[in-house]
Symmetry: C2
Subunit: 295 residues, 2 copies
């Protein structure tokens, strides 16, 4: 299924963009799980147009209704991968989508995996990108830190390089879709809490709370949902380490790929995300119209 | 009365900014007439958070209620002048206000005065700024094109230079506040429709529809409300001729002076204005806090 505009993230920035693209007659889908940080916001009183405070939940629901009414497709799914071929190819747990333009509106990067010494080994055994670094670990012993579909996807990306893969859940409840259960069976699973990582120059392994040590050549981080940063690393999108760098038209360095909202780190507010989503839509609409005109 | 944040314009950009500044405990006022371009918008369906279309009128009213509830002062008045001394001095029809920071959120520039040959004489007899150009017309015969408080204010700014001032309303109904009626009596008033401006190199006068000609050395344009461009000219704010140039923090080239919404010409949408207002607030809050800390 080829979409004109595929938006990753169902928060204010993503939905605002979708409202514009769909009204411009672009075939539009918004993909994401219902896990916006806004859900925790009990009372929002600084978003223009609401005389009385509104809950984040209410705002999210209303926004989706609004986009759906105008014709945008809302897809409950987790995006685990994104590639650029002729069009963009977006891999989700339950399907693969193609799109002419993509907006990343996945919110603020998820909290770092709470594992001691993680930063110390970043780039020296710790990686956030299987696509980038998998090759370095041919026939090595690797781990993937995570417990969701995203972690299973990352682990399976390593299969062409090595079969010695352990999924470390760090004692988080394993939360994997049924259709990935078979893939999951190809990895060892360690459900114990991690105490710390160890190594001299580079990562050598990890110590579990229980006391036992596991030697490792590399550990890939895929903790929680795929964040904007993980997409950025896979795609070569320029970041400042925390946020995607977008210009004043919300363009990233990759043509056709845009970013809006908290993942741009500009000012993490509903107001700002909504404005950025609208601004991004303008270029997306222009690109798609040009593509269709040029055939 | 010294305000921390004074916002000119009661549309989405201005009110969004006020919501943020007032919540940051800044003494905040929003000044303007109820004349937003949004009032003409019957159905807005591209502003995030409304499942069903909302009218511009409803949105404006709700926004003002929201800002007022949080403690912002909404002042129904027309801003006719703005100067920077130690603080900013904002002159309105009914009062003068002082402010530490100012946001210009006056919407898109008003339509050009519908007078033939106007552009031809711009800078050669036609001026948009009494403060800038009044001095060139000492003891000359000048006109002011306009019919509102703003026009009367502009005409009175010329009094130190010349007494020979005619207010040309171009057949628009004169719309002047009671407290300016006395000032108004110091000018000649011509209520006829203007056919065209004439002159060889520079403006020499205007021809009325009725056929009669009026010689003039200069004509100052103050048609309708004071627009962002008229403020820009008075203050030396950089524009591109149509819109105020603001950077990605919504700062103009004048410290403490910000711009947001349609007057920045970026993408004239409620969504965008609301986001820009929020972004501007952040710097305004920082400036005011620093001022207060430094005494």
């Amino acid at each position: 299924m080829l979409y004109d505009a595929l938006i990753i993230g169902r928060g204010p920035a993503g939905i605002s963009c979708a409202i514009y693209t769909v009204r411009a007659n672009l075939k539009t889908a918004v993909i994401g799980k219902t896990n916006s940080a806004l859900l925790k916001a009990d009372k929002i009183e600084n978003y223009y147009g609401f005389a009385e405070p509104v809950s984040g939940k209410k705002l999210l629901e209303t926004g989706e209704k609004q986009a759906a009414r105008l014709g945008a497709q809302i897809i409950e799914d987790e995006v685990v991968g994104i590639e650029k071929e002729k069009n963009f190819k977006i891999t989700c747990t339950n399907g693969v989508y193609e799109a002419r333009t993509v907006l990343i509106a996945t919110g603020a990067p998820v909290i770092k995996a709470p594992v001691k010494n993680l930063e110390q080994f970043e780039g020296r055994g710790i990686s956030y990108c299987t696509t980038c670094d998998g090759f370095f670990y041919r026939n090595k012993k690797v781990g993937v830190l995570g417990y969701t579909d995203y972690a299973v996807h990352e682990a399976s990306e390593l299969l062409p390089f090595t079969q010695d893969i352990t999924l470390f859940t760090n004692a988080m409840p394993l939360n994997v879709s049924d259709n990935l259960k078979e893939t999951l069976s190809r990895f060892r699973i360690n459900t114990l809490k991690i105490k710390e990582l160890y190594g001299a120059e580079t990562l050598e392994g990890l110590t579990l709370e229980a006391g036992r040590q596991e030697t490792l050549n590399g550990l890939f981080i895929a903790y929680g949902s795929a964040s904007s940063i993980s997409f950025a690393l896979k795609m070569g999108i320029i970041t400042d380490g925390k946020s995607i760098q977008a210009n004043d038209r919300m363009e990233t360095n990759i043509p056709g790929l845009f970013a809006a909202g908290d993942c741009t780190g500009i000012f993490k507010q509903v107001s700002v995300g909504v404005g950025q989503g609208a601004i991004a839509s303008r270029q997306m609409i222009e690109i798609v119209r040009k593509m269709k005109k040029d055939g």
